[in-house]
């Protein structure tokens, strides 16, 4: 069972989940400050019907077409979310909840139908639900790597633009940045990250790889640049470790392991994080209280009664 670790294919798979995790960590930071963490989850679920339809049309598991199908399906989901909240009285979170469940339900229905027909079982489409990194072949890996590196480059090159777009969009527009253009690029990198991640991590859990690393990174820094770098690091390491663990067990799904590793980093960050981590907060408060006790002042009443 350890033999898989020495195959060159597996090394490529590890590389691809490393870069995927890094890309997801970076894009996750954008989603975090756009306050759209849940959006990535909705879009990931919305990608499923596209994967199956892509398979039905081509008749084989060609990653390029499956990714294309997933992207189209996710973009339709994004469009629905936009449209529902602008044209009806339904709010954004409700719209996301609806798109998420309806698209996913539709996808599962299609998947069941495909699995009943001959050849469907062998196609391994099931692995798109929870991810199966080890099942990727070299061409899958290259497609994924190219797209993930593309995403990283876009985030990196436009770093200053992303910052102002996320921090103060109306000011950004005032100095001539096209918000429409930025919205389009943002949606494109988000959807690309999601669709390239679904083979390795699965539609259900890919959003976690976008959300968790960025939140963990927030606990370590007050600089946007460092937050993105750390988030990329957390995402990349989670991707590699998760893939590694899942490969040891034969046929174990990859997604859950990646998410568990990411969650482990999150708990560490939450407790030990230098910026408002639980432990630091506690120690700071205790030393403040001690100081108050040494030099008694009227405000001691507040310290005891309040926070």
């Amino acid at each position: 069972m350890w033999s898989i670790l020495y195959s060159s294919n597996f090394h490529w798979v590890l590389t691809s989940t490393l870069i995927l995790g890094a890309a997801a960590g970076m894009v996750g930071c954008l989603a975090y400050w756009k306050k759209q963490s849940l959006m990535s989850d909705a879009l990931a679920h919305a990608a499923l019907p596209g994967v199956i339809i892509g398979f039905l049309l081509i008749g084989e598991k060609n990653i390029v077409y499956l990714i294309l199908g997933a992207a189209i399906s996710a973009l339709i989901g994004a469009f629905f979310i936009q449209w529902v909240q602008s044209a009806t009285r339904i709010s954004e979170d409700t719209a996301m909840g609806m798109v998420l469940s309806i698209f996913f339900g539709f996808g599962i229905m299609l998947l069941t139908i495909v699995n009943r027909t001959a050849g469907g079982n062998q196609s391994g489409l099931d692995s798109f639900i929870f991810g199966q990194a080890a099942s990727m072949v070299k061409s899958d890996v290259f497609t994924m790597l190219t797209l993930a590196i593309g995403v990283i480059v876009i985030v990196f090159v436009g770093f200053k633009e992303w910052k102002i777009y996320l921090f103060d969009p109306s000011f950004a527009k005032g100095i001539g940045l096209s918000l429409k253009g930025m919205n389009v690029v943002y949606t494109l990198v988000l959807v690309t990250t999601i669709v390239i991640g679904i083979q390795a991590v699965g539609v259900i859990l890919i959003a976690a790889l976008l959300i968790i690393p960025s939140v963990s990174a927030r606990y370590w820094t007050d600089s946007f640049r460092l937050m993105i770098s750390l988030s990329a690091l957390f995402g990349g390491v989670s991707g590699v470790l998760g893939t590694f663990i899942s490969a040891v067990g034969n046929g174990w799904p990859t997604g859950p392991f990646i998410v568990v590793v990411a969650a482990f980093f999150f708990v560490i960050s939450l407790v030990l994080g230098k910026e408002k981590g639980i432990l630091i907060n506690y120690l700071e408060r205790r030393s403040q209280r001690k100081q108050m006790l040494v030099t008694p002042s009227p405000s001691i009443i507040n310290v005891k009664g309040g926070k």
């Binding site: 633009e161 910052k163 921090f167 005032g174 001539g176 940045l177 007050d222």
Partner: protein, 253 residues
């Protein structure tokens, strides 16, 4: 007579189906310092946003310097309401001020040392240099407002729009901001400010624009800042509205 730098004709704008601005007409002369006053919901913020194309107009024309908007945009500075951004964003005061230079730096290029120096000087001007490296969420409301002002200064614009820069700031900040506005005016720059405190209008602004969904009155403060016009804009009893305005300081539009 100084030249007209902004000409607004027949401007109408709405949020959803409610008209917030109807048939707005006015002209602004170069070097004037105008206070926009009116009750809550009068469309003061919407007016600024519509002029700057941050909000789409339904009808009407807005003419800056007789230039196409793309060109005029270069010489316009905008200070949004302090509450319009998330101050928890991971960045420091200096960095926010550098953002004012992004247009000049050029898209996709990195800010240089010289840009950072310019930003630092703008912070100095606002008395904020000691806070340059401070995370922005750790600044007080007044300090955050000064950072926004510094960011506008560094843009070196000819025409400034400011949305309630004095809302919820301490007396020292208010003084510092007003000193800067007067200085901008002395350089021949034009400034329009959404203002909420009627009691200071006469001291602060040379022009007043009374707004309540449309322009009630616009002109030199000495001539148009009268009880009659205030009543016309706010409706009803003047004293009640003074009290009401004050209570609204905490929640700007």
């Amino acid at each position: 007579m100084s030249k007209t730098v902004l000409k607004v004709e027949n401007l109408t704008a709405s949020y959803r189906k409610n008209y917030v601005l109807e048939d707005v007409n006015f002209e602004i002369a170069q070097g004037s310092l105008t206070g926009i006053v009116g009750p809550n919901g009068a469309g003061k913020s919407t007016l600024i946003k519509t002029l700057l194309r941050l909000h789409p107009p339904i009808t009407g024309t807005v003419d800056f310097y007789g230039l196409p908007f793309k060109d005029a945009q270069r010489v316009i500075g905008y200070v949004p309401q302090r509450g319009s951004v998330d101050w928890d964003f991971p960045t420091n005061a200096l960095d926010v001020v550098v953002m004012g230079l992004y247009g000049k730096i050029g898209w996709l290029k990195r800010p240089s040392k010289a840009h950072k120096r310019l930003a630092y000087e703008a912070l100095q001007k606002m008395g904020m240099e000691t806070y340059a490296n401070r995370q922005i969420s750790q600044l007080s409301g007044g300090q955050q407002q000064r950072v926004f002002l510094a960011r506008a200064l560094v843009q070196d614009a000819d025409f400034y729009f400011m949305d309630e820069p004095l809302a919820g700031v301490d007396a020292a900040t208010e003084k510092a901001i007003m000193a800067i506005l007067k200085e901008l005016k002395s350089y021949g720059k034009t400034v329009m400010v959404v203002h909420h405190d009627l009691q200071t209008v006469e001291d602060y602004f040379d022009h007043v624009l009374f707004l309540n969904r449309t322009v009630v009155k616009h002109g030199k403060t000495l001539q148009v800042f009268t009880k009659e016009n205030i009543t016309k804009t706010y409706g009803g009893n003047l004293r009640i509205h003074f009290a009401e305005e004050e209570s609204h300081v905490v929640h700007p539009l």
